[in-house]
Amino acid sequence: MNAQIIETIEQISGCVFMGAFLSTAVAFLFMEGLEDQMRNHPVVNFLILGWLFGSGIVAVPALAVLAFNSAFLYPTYYHVMDNGRWITLVGALLIIVMILASLDRALVNLKHKNLGVRIHEPLGLGWILVGLAVLAQGLSALSGVNLLSRIYFSGQFLAVVGIIFTCTAIASAFSRNDYNNRPTAWKSDKKPLGLMWIVLGLSVILIGVSVQIG
């Protein structure tokens, strides 16, 4: 394959991954914005599951293509990403979305006089960290500093993102239920969601490690 076609594949994969990433963040925003009594609504569960599953289905292959290209083929994708504008935009958007979602959640907690910190709070924190990492990558690329770019290329960035995904998925799966104080992972309707995120996180870690080794 020539450089032109590889570049096209990389650009499209980057576009798809960013889209899926944003889609996931928006899905989390909607999930965080729901009040507790709405979360067990069957339509809500169906939509959230479809949303996250759909974005996960495209995010993983797109990320795999990017990682494969960076490891084995001509890494032109990074020239496209190096201008930093796209990734800065996505990072800034993620942070704004997650801070607003956390604020919204905090307002709901205050309204119901529920001031205790719950285990599933790291979910929002994880996304703010991902947003910060993406923003840092974008800003460093914009300013011409290549240190973070090198980390990103080497697969460590992907591994870190994967670890955050996995940790937040596990934290979410074992967070306490508001009704019977049992971990939500024990409820049959929550299992596929948590499991999918754990698998997604582990696959991102694997991609990161394989890029690092490759």
Partner: protein, 72 residues
């Protein structure tokens, strides 16, 4: 190229859905008020994700055809 346009349309749609979702969350409180709008916006978000998936498949098919036509 049509696939890429579809992906970008999905991307823009997600941003619009996110903004409308935030506005809806701040405007409405309680089970009844805003819940239907929330569900509608969630459905719109799922459709936008579907557009991204469809765009990715479309672009993949285009690239495959392009490669096949240039190999032979």
């Amino acid at each position: 190229m049509n696939g890429v346009i579809l992906i970008i349309a999905g991307f823009v749609g997600e941003i619009v859905v996110a903004i409308l979702g935030i506005v809806n969350m701040f405007l409405s409180r309680g089970f009844d008020s805003g819940f239907k709008r929330h569900l509608l916006l969630m459905a719109a978000g799922v459709i936008c994700t579907g557009m991204i998936i469809a765009g990715a498949i479309w672009a993949g098919i285009d690239i495959y055809n392009w490669v096949i036509s240039h190999v032979h």
